[in-house]
Symmetry: C2
């Protein structure tokens, strides 16, 4: 049986422990929701204040040149590229994940239409994050395609074998169960069957090693405000393999994606490479905060980078699973996150026949912040940059107390908030 | 002849003079570029710091409920609605102007396709801001339409009379010349001819009274970082007349536009009204700054609001035009902004056969910040919230000295920056 002392010992010998010092962690809380919104890096407040007070307040439009505002989408993009296995100049920060998915899937469908006109299916999973499905549904209709959703990862191969799939669009780590897809294997299968592979990295960028180029992926998008610690609603990113980046004019053809935006010419001429995936003027304050967040992940590079973070992440989720099983048995919780390391992201999800929302609320009242996902799922994210092993112990102890005391049955924990 | 003393007297009797105290103005500069990037309101740094340090840093995901993050697009939208003649619940803040134009023009074209299938033209002006034309060009192609561009406002009526126009897409104030369209008259003509009217308010929201509902407009988009003082790359806004808001599922159908985003259902069900025009998670830091900027304009309401600001704006641009003519004659400058008040926005543009870029640079070196627009235009924006009459005098005096001394011919003023 693991003890709290064992967990303290794990922290004491954790080679990544000091990375936690980069963050302002909420006082009195155990924050296990970095997969929804990453915590605040210490550097961010000062950097944002600098952008507001100096770059905007004093230097105003001059900052487009002097502070390098104009190249921030590429500068931060190059940093994120290091985390997801892409090369310099291939990835830009822009807009939201939803908007970037629209661009990337539009391009993928246009390329499929040209190269494989008989293929009429966009393949995804019913459990994919809803915004991905909403965007895909609209684009599939527009392109005269059908959006086919699988109910289990096992079905993906069969659908690909049908020869009807134009684009396989998957989120690498399931937002609810935390299940991890094998990007290289699925991309390989998709290509063998003549389909393009588009990956959403919302729950993988900054959470585990991602190897877009090595896996042969075609398109990717990802989120800035989860494991990249970019702040609420941080800009997202989009990557297109160089073999496709210039083949298509993505439909959100705004001026920042023009070859020469400040020539103000009426005719659109797309910029070279991934820059054409920019659209309007970027939200600079949010962009500046994102860069601090990305830097907080890159700070792990001298310590082994994403591989080292992955090792700790798996140790944290292994520990959480083991402790829940050792200490919270008999309360109707079941593990829906895969036990196999190769199938697990950086979170653990537990299901229960009832009460998941109230249990999460009771935990939050005790300072243990996880989140609820419909219908009856408790979701806990473990961010190796700042989560300690002893926090895993303490979180499970609170969970045990909430369950054994039945305090979660109190009425106050059952009132649903607008955002759950 | 107007004297500097006259200008000081105008400032002394200006009923709006105190509004300037709301802003951090760059030391030693006369800032005449609020039509590119509005100045920093004093309230913004503190508000952004609060969002970063308290709402994000301490309260994290709880702030979606406790700090009202989830309803910011509507809350700020309702404030902007007061400035542009729309009603509560009709306008949301989201994404960039380019992205919002994509949504609005997509909807307009879908409605036109349903109601007037023979109409195949999107009508705009060759001098419209390029990003509008780039977006329209892509959408026109996608919808099998033709983008027709006029070279003069006088041609608009003739094109509308052709019976081929599906959507008339105009920017109310020309970004270069500062020419102001008669929104009510053009919208009326468009409707009489069976076309829809889409207005870009980038250079009019916060600059002059806009009356979307009274003018009968169908769609509008606008910019947050010019006269609304929302900060670099501030989120933009989109308005759709209630008669059309629910008729179409706009193509950027992300989860924030879903009827119940936190039910996480795989099927898209658009929210009621304008909320369906939201897409992904909003950039919260930039949104918070935008609200301070909008509030800085609303602060004029007790003093007469946009009508009072318009009176001062016209007095400022009248003064600038008069002083340039009195004091800078014989240097080859010509006025390209209309003299008639009904045809003028809140800026003045001057053309010259050569040297416009260098003259603007020489002025900037003297602390007078206007901007250059290709091919040979000097552009000066006058923001009645914070521009003083004596600054107009001093700016013209610097312009006179730059021209008479020929200092603009110095090589250092001819080196082009990335962003001009």
């Amino acid at each position: 049986m693991t003890t709290r002392q064992d967990c303290l010992a794990l922290d004491a010998s954790d080679p990544l422990a000091d990375l936690r010092e980069q963050f302002v962690l909420p006082a009195g809380k155990i924050y296990l929701d970095g997969n929804s919104l990453g915590v605040l890096p210490r550097a961010t407040a000062g950097r944002v204040a600098q952008v507001v007070q100096k770059e905007w307040g004093e230097d105003l439009i001059e900052s487009w040149n002097s502070a390098g505002w104009i190249s921030l989408p590429q500068r931060i993009g190059d940093k994120i590229a290091r985390l997801v296995g892409a090369d310099t100049g291939e990835l830009v920060v822009a807009d939201s994940t939803s908007v970037n998915l629209f661009k990337a899937l539009s391009a993928a469908l246009a390329i499929a239409k040209a190269d494989a006109p008989g293929r009429q299916v966009v393949l995804s999973e019913r459990g994919n994050f809803p915004t991905d499905l909403y965007i895909a549904d609209g684009l599939a209709t527009q392109h005269g395609c059908e959006l086919v959703l699988t109910d289990s990862p096992d079905e993906i191969g069969g659908h690909l074998a049908s020869g009807r799939v134009a684009v396989m669009m998957l989120t690498q780590v399931d937002y609810q169960s935390g299940r991890l897809h094998d990007m290289a294997a699925l991309t390989h299968t998709a290509h063998q069957q003549g389909a393009l592979a588009l990956w959403d990295l919302a729950h993988s960028a900054g959470a585990l090693p991602v190897a877009l180029k090595a896996a042969g992926a075609d398109f990717a998008v990802g989120c800035g405000y989860k494991y990249l610690n970019g702040g609420p609603g941080a800009p997202a990113f989009v990557w297109v393999h160089p073999r496709y980046a210039e083949r298509f004019r993505q439909p959100l053809s705004g001026w920042m994606g023009h070859a020469a935006p400040f020539e103000f010419t009426p005719a659109y001429r797309p910029a070279a490479g991934i820059t054409r995936y920019l659209c309007g003027t970027p939200a600079l304050l949010s962009m500046a905060a994102l860069e601090c967040g990305v830097d907080s992940v890159l700070a792990a590079e001298p310590l082994g980078g994403m591989a080292a973070l992955r090792t700790k992440s798996l140790a944290l989720t292994d520990l959480f699973i083991a402790l829940v099983e050792q200490r919270c048995g008999g309360h109707g919780l079941s593990l829906i996150t895969p036990r196999e390391h190769t199938l697990r992201g950086s979170q653990v999800a537990l299901a229960r026949s009832e009460g998941a929302y109230a249990i999460v609320q009771a935990l939050i009242a005790r300072g243990v912040v996880g989140d609820f996902r419909a219908p009856e799922v408790l979701r806990f994210g473990f961010t190796p940059l700042y989560t300690r092993f002893v926090e895993v112990w303490d979180a499970v102890e609170h969970l045990r107390q909430v369950l054994t005391s039945s305090e979660w049955r109190e009425a106050r924990f059952h009132r649903k908030a607008a955002v759950t």
